[in-house]
Symmetry: C2
Subunit: 338 residues, 2 copies
Amino acid sequence: MNIGEIARRSGVSRSTVSYALSGKRAVSEATRQRIQAVIDELGYRPNAAARALKEGRTRTLGLVVPPTRRRLTFMQLEFVASVMEAADRADLDLLLSPSRDDHDRSFERIVGGRRVDGLILMEIRLDDPRVTRLQGLRLPFVTIGRTARPQGTCWIDVDYATLIDRCVNHLADLGHRHIALINRSAELIASGYGPAHRAREGFADAVARRGVEGVEFCCADDAAAGETCVQEILRAHPEVTAITTINEAALPGIQRALEDAGLNIPARFSVAGVAARYWAEQFHPQLTAADVPAVDMGATAVDFLVERVTDPDAPPRQHLFVPPISLRNSTGPAPAPR
Amino acid sequence: MNIGEIARRSGVSRSTVSYALSGKRAVSEATRQRIQAVIDELGYRPNAAARALKEGRTRTLGLVVPPTRRRLTFMQLEFVASVMEAADRADLDLLLSPSRDDHDRSFERIVGGRRVDGLILMEIRLDDPRVTRLQGLRLPFVTIGRTARPQGTCWIDVDYATLIDRCVNHLADLGHRHIALINRSAELIASGYGPAHRAREGFADAVARRGVEGVEFCCADDAAAGETCVQEILRAHPEVTAITTINEAALPGIQRALEDAGLNIPARFSVAGVAARYWAEQFHPQLTAADVPAVDMGATAVDFLVERVTDPDAPPRQHLFVPPISLRNSTGPAPAPR
DNA sequence: GAAAGTAGGCGAAACGATTCGACTCGCTAC
DNA sequence: GTAGCGAGTCGAATCGTTTCGCCTACTTTC
């Protein structure tokens, strides 16, 4: 069921069929219709491999996701889903690669075998081997998150520093004087994970500027860790009346620990974070949070990448998302000191 | 950077390079090493499109996931992740397609363009157009879930009927006499979604056999729906003392509504469900549930599919997962009637 | 009415791999 | 001494497209 068969049955040459399909040269309306009729009847679609070979492009994008030993966060999940749909809208296929490093098997397969026209990389570290690898290969890519020197590359990112700054300001405005930051895990920070570093910096700056006292805690990405982390905070820093966090996965545990400690939210304790909107709304009370626009981000990443694929010499585009804080029900005035 | 370049630089023909790489014919150790040295130096990897064209197979699997307007459940997410890793282990690439129907663009692209050697289909309906389409095309596939007549096809599924049966039995053993089933959404049931239908049947059979009273409620896949659903149950059926559910996403709302109604779990009310283990453990108290083995399922699906791709004439394999119920802290003896 | 242009079509050469048949050695067996 | 065989290699065909150059008619233009 190839183009030759279509050509034979419609009594024209293979090239005519090709031109009828692509429209790159004139084909008389009569033959075009004849060809189309045969194609419809036989349900022909050009073979992707042959086309890729000839054209030198695969019409496929790659999405490099972190291997799931560490579970995906809701934000990441939403992002993956939105990339999938954006690629679909652009009539591009999406190849998934679970890789953290440039030597991982699937990364090697996809990049070495030239299976994709461009790549979207998630979970970028400040110093990321995949980025340097791809730069050497002149394979277009967009990173979600920035490396330490992001000037020449194409990226989108969430401005965690500013978001945490806003959370701190919001809490300080409400009268809180002792605020804790629940960051991501210590390993993640040690591995140079940008958002965790930038949240840390934003927090330090904000508490300094507002003259409030801030303490930072690292916390693994799950509810149990969130629970023990809050217990630890309450024990070591009983003066703390508000928490801000970028650790989505810890939220259920944070909430539970506060509840168990009898600290009603928001009357006795406030929580303000950065999270996917859906996730923030699952909480009780619903979480005052900067809603990370994962869906927009996915669409933007695909847009940037497509642009880069079609015109590799265009200056790389970059976008920093700074979503506003949605005021919900988890923050309130600081309780009167006892 | 193609095989011809490698051949030129190592002073042999292209075919010799190919044989040196594949080992399908003898190549003297000396030339093999010479070729390998050139390859290592230049970092050559065979072009996937050319290879696919010649070999007639793409070394790629397709995973058809439901479009995300309706959000993926945790179980589905875990499944996708595990398929991704299993494919990677088998040295196969994974193409993602967000399609519900056989006419969806990406389904058409992937299937029509012969981009994959086989497909894994999620969210199978009892009567699914994609299945009939693929059967006509002789393209290997594995379904997650079964159609109404699954005899000739290759599938894996979770035995929701039996699991709900076990939940009901567990609750009945604890003395509960009025049990509610919180099923998935009414639309899903109307569209012929197997798990929801089979849960319904399993529930009906089990309550009949145990002689307890059962009521079934449909519920959309989110916390808010779960909350109102429980409120409705408590209003319309105040005699109910236990809930069983396959609706993962509703769990936070179920829990919250019971809490707000002052019904302590498990002292005053019991909940037993079917859920991803991680999700079940996030609850408070942790949920007594049949832990759906999403990771095993992903690996099995890939195994079955690979087997079918390599030997299309082998009888199609099938597997019904019946995970045991993990007793956690959300079920207890029925409260004494007031 | 010849030159020039255009619409419509065809054939063949790519793209980069794999694989089949054929060829040349050197060795063994009779 | 020659037939047979296996190891090692090469050339050419092939997979299914796209695209370039060329060719033929037919129209237009002066």
